[in-house]
Symmetry: C2
Subunit: 205 residues, 2 copies
């Protein structure tokens, strides 16, 4: 398998999951500074022009929640998701859906406003609201979703690297980590995991 990523993106979540699973894979950095994600070569892999992408002998997989579930299914012995409990698995997928469709989207309005408006003044208005909108998402996670010590209690799942990845953006989004004691503690503990250190070292090395 070949994993396409860019540093400081949501690709980190799947990268960590691959490491946690002990997967055999290569990595390939996509150079956002050169707009490589819009190059013909990359668009032939992922027509969306986004990262991450996972190229396998079966085809190409995209979208973080799907990639995380696939890694968990491919490496069942790593026990990264409650695969034999439909209700528990549904809760994992619900959490990951919230991250991709609401939390990540709130964050994206800081730098990617051009996706949703052409007016530079609108982009500025979007940037201004990010601390509030992202902060409200994490407040809801802290209050109503996070069991601790991991997202779903004692079982470490694919939701943990995904939460960690988006929590990496608190500071650039203008959100104060002190507002979320449980999530800030989770972030500190995640950094100590070898799989997390390895993935971050590769992406920022």
């Amino acid at each position: 398998m070949k994993f396409f990523y860019a540093p400081h993106t949501c690709a980190l979540a799947t990268h960590i999951a691959l490491e946690e699973a002990g997967a055999t894979y290569e990595t390939q950095r996509v150079d956002f500074s050169a707009n490589e994600q819009r190059s013909a070569a990359y668009l032939s892999i992922n027509p969306k022009g986004r990262v991450p992408s996972l190229v396998t002998d079966k085809g190409v997989l995209t979208e973080t929640p799907a990639m995380l579930l696939y890694v968990a299914q491919l490496y069942r012995e790593a026990r990264l998701a409650p695969l034999d409990d439909p209700w528990a698995l549904a809760q994992v997928q619900a959490f990951n859906s919230y991250l991709c469709s609401t939390v990540h989207v709130a964050h994206a309005h800081r730098m990617r406003g051009y996706r949703w408006a052409d007016d530079p003044a609108a982009h500025e208005a979007m940037r201004a609201k990010v601390p509030q909108s992202v902060g409200e998402c994490f407040d809801l996670i802290e209050r109503t979703m996070f069991a601790g010590p991991w997202v779903f209690g004692d079982m470490y799942t694919i939701s943990d690297p995904y939460l960690f990845t988006i929590a990496q953006w608190w500071e650039v989004d203008g959100v104060d980590p002190a507002r979320f004691p449980k999530l800030a503690d989770h972030r500190r503990r995640m950094v100590e995991r070898p799989a997390v250190r390895k993935a971050i070292a590769v992406e920022t090395g």
Copy 2:
């Protein structure tokens, strides 16, 4: 099970899936015109203040991609997802993730701009771009994702009611269905399914 919905929202996707599965459930309309989704009673069910929500004897489930997968797992005999093929299931989840995190989000900028900016001029700028941003999403689906006759070929899956639900919004989003012959044909065939007729009749009745 009790299914909370509002008409003309993404709740329709799960509603159709419940019907396709032959599930036993009650429905409860959430009155958006009275802002019932922000009422204390509803927030106690779903703290996000959104629809849909599925109340079960195990707890509450939210987020369309998770609910669709749960319905498929709970009613395996309805064969609404390739549950025994991790790669095929990953593709279903990738498609549904794209719908929730990109297509639905593009659409939401027409009416829900207040989520991402406070300036009314920014809301207007967002509204103006919806025909383009939503149109580009469906163009990508038509060109690169849709196999036909169903999203994943001969197997009808949970991705079909989800695609159909968001395709219901083409006209209000200012997107011309004639741009997407395969998807427009899919929409026409979906309406003929008894499960789709039933769900729509309940929601708009």
